[in-house]
Amino acid sequence: MTIPATTSLPVTLAEAMEFAWYEADLLDHAIYDEWLAQWTADALYIVPIEPGTTDFENSLNYAYDDHGMRKKRVERLLNGQSISASPVALTVRSLSRFRLLQTDEASCELRCAQIITEYRRGRERTYTGDVTYRLVRGSTGLQIARKVVWLINSTEALGGIGYIL
């Protein structure tokens, strides 16, 4: 990443987009160590169920991961013990329709559309949703303070999702 770590300018849409694509590329290409390093220590990765939920902590989600859970999720994808992740699904995610909902020198709130196509054992499936990122400037560049994946069909029956959305 070449995004400057310190600047007195607000985070731009271009910086935020570049970061979100970078994260998507890490996940699609299973570069998990680098992916884990992109989060702040207290960051949360959340996949909610009910649209419009704001109190994620007290709600049932599909995923509500702190650093420890993200590490475990990665470990599960790599250790070969999970039959639903052996082989792990191949994914290609497409992010677009980016919009900065808020920005200042230290952080921004980015919203975008995400379409993931998954391929595994002869089946192709698609999960579509909005992603909202809270990105903060750390000493080495932007970092994820919170990522929320709002699937458009979150209240319907999903298939097993043996990878990270």
Partner: protein, 423 residues
């Protein structure tokens, strides 16, 4: 109506005491017959009381393939109506859950009160008394009965009361509900997922401890040592017991049968912070111990034929969709009025294992998918249900009991299946 005899040469060709044949998973005619002979002829779970706590609350559900509305009327009585207008048959409701004062068909505006009576018909002068007798056009309602918060419905007015149908399972349901930790049990949301396989593959799984250490190896790797030891369920002295009428209980962690017992036992390390938090909120030592023990859930699964399991710490509901497609709901439960910290802990535990992104359910879904895929390989091979069969202990009332990894619960379910399908 297709009888079992028409589906095969004899019932014994499809289903024996310790094995079943593959068409049970793959034959659309068998599936059609099941929807009629089983799901229209027994008690089917539709809701937990906490899903519709107030008058006017409703939720959509299904009894077999038939869409129903579970609704609490103005007087607090629970009804289960077919979700179908008496005029042209359109569904009245396509909202999963909510609150309403009436049920109105969006097509021509026929309106029903919550108890199912037809109240309003727009432009009524197009009908005369002979063609529109309101008293005969109430919503079709099913018989409804409740046991310890579990609401069941049936199309049959002449079958046994729910309490008799549940029989020995009632004792286990009462034990299961102790995970309210002194509060009533309340649903906290649900995970839903589908797998491309027959509904009976899921029915079998809830009473299958044999698969746990293998299929859930990656989950067991992710939990702490203490939990891993507790979940070493094949070596903990557990058992499976046939509870009659197709029901069974599988006890995986015997020390967690009665959550009111052993309250003096040390608090597990993983709940130490929770215990501190609850103590700081002012709960007594006994209350804290009781709640913490409840947060971990019960040590058993109750399989209630045909569509629901009270499964350790949640309700697991199966919904047949077609012969090779099934929807599963994992309904999280917690303490109604209990401390938020305790409910949060239960939610986090639920998220850890259950649902499409849990560390357990996707692996279950994968092996069920493989059972269905393998079943495409022809119907000449039997599916074995004989584990623990020779060593099964007979109980005085004709029921059976065996070690925790035995397929006793599956045999109980298929006994009931055969009884109902042979009629």
């Amino acid at each position: 109506m297709t009888s079992l005899a028409e589906l095969s040469t004899t019932p014994d060709d499809l289903i024996r005491k310790d094995r079943v044949r593959t068409p049970l998973y793959t034959d659309p005619a068998i599936f059609d017959a099941e929807m009629t002979k089983i799901f229209r002829n027994t008690w089917v779970w539709v809701a937990h009381v906490s899903e519709i706590p107030n008058n006017g609350d409703f939720k959509m559900a299904q009894v077999g393939l038939e869409p129903v509305i579970v609704v609490r009327d103005r007087k607090g009585k629970v009804h289960v109506h077919l979700n179908r207008c008496r005029h042209r048959g359109a569904t009245l409701c396509e909202v999963r859950k909510g609150k309403t004062s009436s049920l109105v068909c969006p097509y021509h505006g026929w309106g029903y009160s919550l108890d199912g009576k037809l109240r309003g018909v727009p432009y009524e002068n197009g009908y005369d008394e002979k063609t529109l007798d309101r008293n005969e056009l109430s919503l079709k309602s099913l018989r409804v009965e409740e046991y310890n918060g579990l609401i069941f419905a049936t199309f049959r007015d002449d079958i046994e009361p729910l309490a008799d149908f549940l029989g020995p399972a009632k004792k286990w349901i009462d034990l299961f509900m102790k995970q309210g930790g002194g509060y009533p049990v309340k649903t906290l949301g649900e995970h839903k997922f589908r797998f491309p396989g027959n509904w009976k593959i899921q029915l079998e799984n809830t009473t299958d401890a044999y698969h746990f250490p293998l299929v859930h190896k990656s989950f067991l790797t992710a939990v702490d040592k203490e939990t891993e030891q507790q979940l070493d369920m094949l070596n903990n002295g557990g058992f499976v017991e046939d509870l009659g009428n197709g029901h069974s209980v599988m006890v995986m962690i015997p020390e967690l049968i009665d959550l009111d017992d052993n309250l003096e036992a040390p608090i597990p390390e993983k709940f130490a912070d929770l215990a501190k938090e609850l103590a700081a909120e002012g709960y007594s030592d006994l209350e804290v111990r009781r709640m913490v023990r409840a947060v971990g859930g019960s040590g058993f699964n109750i399989n209630l034929f045909p569509n629901v399991a009270c499964s350790m710490a949640f309700f697991r509901v199966l919904q047949p969709v077609s012969v090779n497609e099934t929807e599963i709901r994992h309904i999280a439960i917690g303490m109604d009025g209990g401390p938020a910290a305790a409910n949060r802990a239960r939610i986090r535990l639920h998220e850890f294992f259950q649902g499409p992104m849990g560390f357990g359910s996707p692996d279950d879904a994968e092996v069920w998918d493989r059972v269905q895929h393998g079943a495409q390989g022809g119907d000449e091979m039997w599916i074995m249900l004989n584990r623990g069969f020779p060593k099964e202990e007979s109980l005085p009332d004709g029921r059976h009991r065996s070690d925790v990894s035995a397929e006793t619960g599956m045999r109980a379910a298929y006994d009931q299946w055969k009884r109902m399908m042979t009629v």
